[in-house]
Subunit: 413 residues, 2 copies
Amino acid sequence: MSHAVSPLAPKDLPVAPAVPGVRFATTAAAIKYAGRTDVLLAVFDEGTQVGGVFTTSKCPSAPVDWCRARLGGGRARALVVNSGNANAFTGRKGVATVEHTAAIAAAAVGCSPDEVFLASTGVIGEPLDAAKFEPVLAETARRVAEGPWLDAARAIMTTDTFPKVATRTVAIGGVAVVLAGIAKGAGMIAPDMATMLSFLFTDAAIAAPVLQSLIAQAAGDSFNAVTVDGDTSTSDTLLLFATGRAAARGQVEITDAADPRLAGFRAALDELALELAQFVARDGEGARKFIEVRVEGAVSKASARRIARSIANSPLVKTAAAGEDANWGRVVMAVGKAGEPAERDRLAIWFGDIRVAVDGERDPAYSEAAASAHMKQDHVVIRVELGLGTGSDTVYTCDLTKEYVAINGDYRS
Amino acid sequence: MSHAVSPLAPKDLPVAPAVPGVRFATTAAAIKYAGRTDVLLAVFDEGTQVGGVFTTSKCPSAPVDWCRARLGGGRARALVVNSGNANAFTGRKGVATVEHTAAIAAAAVGCSPDEVFLASTGVIGEPLDAAKFEPVLAETARRVAEGPWLDAARAIMTTDTFPKVATRTVAIGGVAVVLAGIAKGAGMIAPDMATMLSFLFTDAAIAAPVLQSLIAQAAGDSFNAVTVDGDTSTSDTLLLFATGRAAARGQVEITDAADPRLAGFRAALDELALELAQFVARDGEGARKFIEVRVEGAVSKASARRIARSIANSPLVKTAAAGEDANWGRVVMAVGKAGEPAERDRLAIWFGDIRVAVDGERDPAYSEAAASAHMKQDHVVIRVELGLGTGSDTVYTCDLTKEYVAINGDYRS
């Protein structure tokens, strides 16, 4: 797991502010890794509301099943996340493990097990022993504090090469509230639902059904728009916790998703989710290039999304990017295979600002040198204009390098 | 293009018999490669019938458009195939090129341009100059002969590391007929239609509509069941030519696809197509393992096919195979992401004969050593039992290695 930090990592690690009502601590439970933290415990003030979205996998992990079943209550007092073992495809043992873990955390925190949310990431198919949590959670619960977020982000990393933290401050009805989020993810990343693990926290007072609406919308153009390898995890989890502590500063609780006072918060949440999601593509296993795939002129946004995913998941497009090869022919191929409406003779393609193809053939002014120069950037923008309608969408990914193969050829053994 | 021969190549190069009514020759037209043949011209006796299937790409190449438009006639006198340039996404120039090429070939062979079938493989988006064919096709037409097939297979290779030839002899109504086929393909291989280029030849007397029915069926479980990278070419072409010369030996022409006398021929054609298709997976770019993915107990064959493709196209499954890692958790992931009916707690998974998971968790008798031993074979069999119905299907692929990335990171430039 000791891969060099992605060259696409942000240059400065962010210092996120405390979120009133959220305290946390990390610990080393030796679940798989030695010499590093692998458990995050977050404790929330009473009255904290929660919303969330999960993997679309038909074989979800036991913690995903657990969280889904508890989300209806809308109340959260604790979050336990471990790295090193996904507790996925672990059968009845896995169910017993989440029940046992929630009970241990509930006792440590002083709440009902149904107010404990759980997430696990790491190897699939290995039983996860809840006894690992027994000796550490009570001690960890005594140490919880309002920071630092980087420690929380580090404890949930697997093949990630940098901790992922983002933050925003925004007003609701004139009262400033804080948003902070952490994420992990580098492989098994595909945008079929809230991808990978990400946990967002705010002190805003927002009712659970509103949180659910906000988080589902925020996931659409962020976590669901990121792909590393087209492989959808069994464990994808995105949760948004709102402690409501801003109410003490005069923020009126929001109970209607259509409340116009939410506009700023909604925009900030969307931005935060996008920033964290882009971090995941920037930390894609073996990534050397961050790739933005923009599709315009499609018959609908959904069609544009499918074409953009087809491009972003194409091994041939991704290896061309790794080779800094302005191989727009492979973009044509990926448009063609998407199965969506497209007319070859209306297609135009840009690499950055360089139009390489127009009207179904190479641009008459095509310059290999100019196109290649763009491919040498570490942020590659591929734009496709279909000329059919007004649907557009953007998907984020990374290149496919030999390091991806190396990382995944010896991850488990 | 000088990659070492795939370790999965057949040990002996086949010697295929002549197919009466089919003569061919190859030439070096310097379309892209120097010092090798890159054009195949096949000439058919009058009365030759043809059927074919093509890529499902929405951006097909100019030769694919040409062939599709001429297939209705059912008659063929010549086939021209070039490697080095796909004549795909070449706009009006590409259309002019196929028209010009067909005219040159028709003049050389003495037939109508509408009886000339064309296929091109290689780089996408570069104009292909028909003038390249002008000086060589007439000369090549004078040299055509009934063999050897290996020369034909070599002329159409791109990143292929070995020529792909297969043959069968079978009786129709008691009269022996010959089937011979060649194929090319190593990358941009996905099973959305007749994948890559493959040309099959027989001296049987079979009417074009029957050929069409036979070839469409044969493609289903062979070329459509192979994937290297999930990337569908703009140029996939599979054609079956029947010269009818066996009629002179007493074979009654078959004009009905339901004719029971076709049973043996149909089976031989299906086998031949499967053999050639498997060669493509065995020559997958960078391949070190041939992987057979078998899905059983699905709700339908179509559902089994989609799940098998999800497994076979998963970069994480393919890199695990490259690393000889018995990582069945990634197989669970790929089943889960397929979007098809699956119940986690009914799943069972085998690597070869080793059952690694059952009832939604690791097999109680699981032996890492035994599973790993299977992964060290160069033919890996992944079998999934869903326990839901009677649908089953098999898909063929190869592992994803650093060499795939190397080959595709510098293919064009």
